[in-house]
Amino acid sequence: MTEKVTKRYEVSGADFTHAGEASGKVKALLKQIGYSPDAIRRVAIAMYEGEINMVIHANGGYVLAEIYPDRIDILLEDTGPGIADIGLAMQEGYSTAPDEVRSLGFGAGMGLANMKRYTDAMRIESEIGVGTKVYITVKS
């Protein structure tokens, strides 16, 4: 039997001050499970970027993390406005973040690019007016 630990975290879009909590919790779990420090770091960064994206652009959503001995699969799903041009959104420096978010130091247009860089696999499904699903995988 393949061991699996599944965790689901709600990401509130209303309260920016809680953004990043889910990735912090997953990080602590992976340390206990014994993932390599490098894998833990990559998961923490990619998941954090995803969480922040959901808060900035999509008014929240949820994160589903499936932890296996050899990898972690993470789904970040929201019911936000959707991404019109995924290719453009992936470009470094491209951002549609509002000014008030930029004033906090976010919205530099590195979110999706960083997620791609730090993960072993990444896939985006998005529909305008329906929402966005981002799947990422990091090997342990």
Binding site: E3, I33, G34, Y35, P37, I40, R41, P69, D70, S140
Partner: protein, 421 residues
């Protein structure tokens, strides 16, 4: 990591009432109340002293050396921590403190602030040459270095690979005393006068170096009455301080960082703040900084649990004392001199939070922990002896505790057996 069985922070079982104050406050969840006493899990303890600070019964205490140990050596050297200088009311000149130490019975003084200036200079040179991974994290507070080795493996490479001012001072003090007196090194006793228990532990299990040249660690609060008495009798000081503003300022949080004369630094103190900064650094969320100074104690070393004075008062006094000092009196020379302060042993990751060395086992245990956590009341009351319901579930799964150490579970079980309504 290393041979890490020795700890300065210990429990006096007679005084411990088994309350939950310390278990809640420990930043590495290293304390459990078992059989009515708050026992420390040795490999997780970083000697930060939070439990000493918070214990209302004075049952958590630090072990340090007695002043009588000076008698074991033919020649003795005192290594005062800069924090010592902030402990005295109306002190106008550090020379009085140094003379007081001589009058107490030390044969000579080697100020740790001298080496703080050398470390500051060495750090400036290494950073200027681009030889350090940024942001550089200070390694002077042993709690921080140990915390990183236990909880933040990704940051190990950012830790400043220079031995602390205390260890550098001990090495130089021993060599200088030997040169001056001709007495064999093992007959020269080098004593650090410490603001905190972590330095006691660090003197025996040094960070970054194989060999510690420290023969004993005295507590500031322990020698304070004796020193003050001597200082009050001084008519004119016999020695002159050999360090300046930079060295003395290491007593306060921000002192080490500001000595780098760079703008992009952060200085944080107090365990809660330090943990928050380390966590953000780990996630690469703090950008644009090139130096991070972290101190476990509030206010920096002046906030150590072995000091006498309130840290904010001590900080203000240090600021006043600095006023007529030169900026810095100690500088390192060329490259070869830098090497004398470099680590000869790297910091290693001690994965003490891991449930098992086998990932499959760890995952099975994690599943069990999740299930058990769901059955617990989520009150984190501490009555079971663990700091939270989650840690209790971990203890049960790792065989350290029984599920019905939880009084709510016990009540349910007894109710099911018809014992309790």
């Amino acid at each position: 990591m290393m041979n890490y069985s020795y700890h300065s922070v210990t429990l006096d079982e007679k005084l411990c009432k088994g309350c939950t104050n310390c278990i809640k406050r420990c930043p590495t969840q290293a304390i459990r109340v078992r059989e009515g006493k708050a026992r420390i899990i040795s490999e997780r303890c970083t000697d930060c002293g939070e439990c000493i600070r918070v214990c209302p019964h004075r049952a958590k205490r630090a072990i340090f050396d007695s002043f009588d140990r000076l008698g074991d050596f033919a020649h003795t050297v005192a290594l005062p921590a800069p924090a010592l200088y902030g402990q005295f009311n109306n002190l106008s000149d550090i020379d009085y403190v140094l003379t007081g130490l001589l009058d107490m019975g030390f044969d000579e003084i080697f100020e740790v602030s001298k080496c703080a200036e050398l470390i500051s200079d060495a750090t400036r040179k290494l950073m200027k040459a681009g030889k350090l991974k940024t942001p550089v994290i200070s390694s002077a507070c042993p709690v921080i270095a140990r915390m990183i080795s236990v909880r933040f493996p990704d940051l190990i490479e950012n830790v400043l690979p220079l031995i602390s001012p205390m260890h550098s001072a001990a090495k130089l003090a021993k060599a200088r005393a030997h040169e001056r007196t001709g007495i064999a090194e093992d007959q020269i006793g080098v004593f650090f006068i410490s603001p905190c228990p972590a330095k006691v532990t660090d003197s025996k299990n040094p960070i970054g170096t194989e060999r510690s040249y420290i023969d004993g660690v005295l507590s500031i609060s322990d020698i304070y009455p004796r020193l003050l008495e001597r200082m009050n009798k001084i008519s004119s000081p016999k020695v002159a301080a050999e360090s300046g503003i930079i060295g003395v300022s290491w007593a306060n949080s921000g002192g080490e960082a500001s000595a780098l004369i760079r703008e992009q630094y952060l200085a944080a103190d107090g365990m809660e703040n330090v943990m928050a900064v380390l966590s953000q650094l780990e996630d690469e969320r703090l950008t644009g900084l090139d130096f991070i100074e972290l101190n476990a104690c509030p206010g920096g070393c002046v906030g150590g649990v072995l000091t006498v004075e309130n840290p904010f008062v001590a900080k203000a006094r240090i600021q006043k004392l600095r006023k007529y000092l030169p900026v810095s009196l100690n500088h390192v020379g060329e490259e070869d001199e830098l090497a004398a302060f470099s680590w000869d042993r790297p910091l290693e990751y001690a994965g003490v939070m891991k449930l098992s060395d086998d990932i499959g086992d760890a995952m099975r245990m994690m599943t069990e922990i999740d299930e058990l956590t769901g059955k617990l009341p989520d009150l984190d009351c501490g009555s079971c002896g663990a700091p939270s319901c989650r840690t209790h579930a971990e203890d049960v799964v790792t065989g350290q505790a029984k599920l019905n150490d939880c009084i709510f579970i016990l009540r349910e079980q007894m109710g099911a057996a018809g014992g309790v309504e």
